[in-house]
């Protein structure tokens, strides 16, 4: 099951990434990136990180990509040049995919990297929200608090940059 999820998620992530890099318009790039993020969520699930898999979909594929799409929709049209005459970058990028697939498939024989699977014995409840939350509110409490300041900075920054043209109601 985990092997199947790995190949499915890995293919989604890699193909989504290459297609994103190679796509002409920003909208299709964003859609391919969503596929890539979904693949990454599948990989998280395969790696016994169900909490992160859900958050990856909610935060990344949900919030962040919606933000991207929202901006693209506002800017799309005459604004975005179709990068005409750009070099054939998708050839090196595309070559990476078969190379990566071959590498992954033959990884067992990469010298020196003796390739056991993952260890079978994980602590009970590994990757469940409870355990992650205990770490967040214990050992990593300071980092957790710091994140809130980072988000405050982002909010104030976005407001400060956005308030140029017209005055905000509270100004």
């Amino acid at each position: 099951m985990e092997g199947f999820l790995f190949y499915l998620g890995g293919a989604m992530m890699l193909l989504g990434g290459v297609a994103m890099v190679a796509s002409r318009s920003a909208v299709s790039a964003a859609c391919w990136l969503v596929l890539s993020f979904l693949g990454s969520a599948a990989l998280f699930a395969a790696l016994q990180a169900p909490f992160l898999a859900v958050l990856q979909i909610l935060v990344y594929a949900g919030a962040i990509m919606v933000l991207f799409l929202f901006v693209i929709m506002m800017l799309e049209g005459p604004v975005m040049p179709a990068e005409a005459g750009r070099p054939k970058f998708w050839i090196p990028a595309g070559a990476l995919v078969p190379a990566a697939i071959i590498l992954v498939a033959t990884a067992r024989w990469v010298p020196g990297a003796g390739l056991p699977g993952f260890p079978g014995d994980l602590p009970p409840g590994f990757g469940q929200p409870v355990r992650v939350a205990q770490l967040l509110l214990g050992e990593y409490l300071l980092a957790f608090e710091l994140i809130s300041i980072v988000l405050v900075v982002a909010i104030i920054g976005a407001l400060a940059l956005g308030s140029n043209e017209r005055t905000l109601p509270w100004k």
């Binding site: 020196g112 050992e139 300041i149 900075v153 308030s163």
Partner: protein, 500 residues
């Protein structure tokens, strides 16, 4: 079930950070509450400066110790406290500069100050971070406000473009660094910097070729993030554009404080992560001092050579700050106790002279609207005070003897020579040659001030009394420290006294 909270003791040691956080929210609330008041700008500046002063006082009250705090997230040793002092001093000057500058719109001063204090908070945490997660978050807390503040010059296309360039390449650099961090985490099995150091050294000695290669890749990728922050070659390209486009009061701050905090973090990453002092490589280890030394040589040479041809003074100072990053990188490569002392001594001196030079640029720009070297022509006659202090700052940046810059450079070069290795002799020689080159372009501005006549008869350049006082406060120590550096050295040595 509540997790064990015993490791959270040590709140007293982060009192400066707590004060800074309090200041952020005080300014935020006051900014909203006083929105109709005519004195809003002055009140906000006053509160910010009081908050920063309180944080500086709190630093003096923290008892330095090498014991890890908050489950090993932070450490409040003398090294960290000293760097925190430097960045808070830079923040005070930066806040006053913003209030003096017409480039920051009055109704946005509050947001500017909030972001400035957040940035300062990030730098304080960066100086003390001893865990990869903390290091990453603190670095982002430094970067994100920097991106915004670089775009704060409204109605100016260059400012937004500079900000965009900064954020796009900055995000890519932090992506590189994050990938490096993820590999380091996996290789060491911990996010703790000293733990990573021990594991990396062990891997380097006994691991197979692939493990060693992975370590090298991981550290190189991590290095990319730091190189971007301190504007070292090959990640320096953003620097001239951002310096030219961003508002001058912010550039003055950006050129000093984040660089200081970045070097502090880089030193801790290499020294606490890889065992101090870095000698020349033992067999089986990767020659990091060599890599850093080459980067240092490249950084100073690129910075100085590019500075020669610049006409815009802000761009010129940008390249000069790249060159100074090169001198500091040389000391990081050496990594000996003398080198660390040299870096710590250099940071406050660099603060004085570089912020001073930018303050003069700001004053000249506000009076004449010019940011080019030609704008400085005849400044000696039009504003003798400005011209004289500018000469002091520029000669100090060059490192000419009776000025503070000489003392700073002296310790950096002494550390390189003390290694008695041919390679560092070569690095030091490159550094000296570079200092000579830098004399050329610094002197060009001084010559424009005193020897050239302005193109047309122009009115005298007026400086407001707050700006004049601030210039004096920066110039006098630049002069005094060049002759009487004992007390500063004493503070540095006291800061390094405790084992790290």
């Amino acid at each position: 079930m509540l997790p064990d909270l015993a490791g959270l003791r040590g709140g007293a040691a982060i009192l400066p950070e707590l004060v800074l956080t309090g200041t952020v929210f005080a300014v935020l609330v006051l900014d909203l509450a006083l929105r109709r008041s005519a004195r809003r700008g002055r009140v906000l500046l006053l509160v910010t400066c009081l908050g920063l002063a309180a944080a500086a006082t709190a630093i003096a009250g923290v008892s330095a110790g090498a014991q890890p705090l908050f489950y090993g997230m932070l450490v409040a040793d003398g090294f960290a406290l000293f760097v925190k002092g430097v960045v808070i001093a830079a923040a005070v000057v930066g806040a006053i500069l913003a209030a003096l500058s017409p480039e920051i719109r009055r109704d946005q001063l509050g947001e500017y100050l909030i972001l400035l204090v957040c940035l300062t908070l990030g730098m304080c945490l960066l100086a003390g971070a001893r865990n990869l997660l903390m290091l990453y978050l603190a670095l982002e807390l430094v970067s994100l406000p920097s991106y915004i503040l670089a775009g704060f010059r409204h109605g100016d296309r260059r400012s937004s473009e500079a900000a965009l360039k900064y954020v796009v390449f900055g995000a890519a650099a932090s992506g590189l660094m994050l990938f490096g961090f993820s590999l380091l985490y996996g290789l060491a099995g911990t996010l703790d910097l000293p733990g990573i150091g021990a594991a990396v050294v062990a891997r380097g000695l006994q691991g197979g070729l692939d493990a060693q290669l992975l370590v090298v890749v991981a550290v190189l990728l991590s290095l990319a993030g730091f190189a971007y922050k301190v504007a070292a070659v090959p990640f320096h390209m953003w620097c001239p554009d951002v310096y030219e486009g961003a508002p001058t009061p912010f550039v003055a701050f950006l050129s000093v404080a984040p660089k200081a905090a970045g070097f502090a973090a880089l030193l801790r990453f290499f020294l606490s992560g890889f065992g101090a002092p870095l000698g020349f490589p033992a067999p089986g280890e990767f020659p990091w001092p060599f890599v850093l030394g080459v980067l240092a040589m490249a950084t100073m040479t690129v910075g100085n050579l590019a500075a020669i041809t610049q006409d815009n003074v802000k761009r010129l100072l940008a390249y000069s700050s790249i060159a100074h990053a090169g001198y500091l990188l040389m000391a990081v490569a050496v990594g000996s106790p003398l080198a660390i002392r040299g870096v710590l001594l250099y940071l406050p001196i660099y603060l004085l002279m570089n912020m001073g030079a930018f303050l003069v640029v700001m004053a000249v720009h506000d009076a004449t609207g010019s940011e080019t070297v030609d704008g400085f022509r005849g400044l000696g006659a039009r504003a003798p005070y400005l011209a004289v202090v500018m000469a002091v700052f520029l000669f100090s940046l060059t490192g000419i003897p009776p000025l503070a810059g000489f003392i700073g450079k002296f310790f950096l070069f002494a550390a390189a020579l003390q290694t008695k290795s041919m390679f560092f002799y070569a690095v030091a020689v490159v550094g000296v040659v570079n200092s000579v080159i830098s004399l050329y372009y610094y002197a060009r501005i001084v010559r424009a001030c005193f020897l050239e006549k302005p193109a047309d008869a122009q009115a005298p350049v007026r400086v407001g009394s707050p700006a004049a006082a601030l210039l004096g406060a920066l110039a006098v120590p630049t002069l005094v420290l060049g002759i009487w550096w004992g007390p500063l050295l004493g503070v540095v040595e006291k800061a390094l006294l405790l084992p790290r």
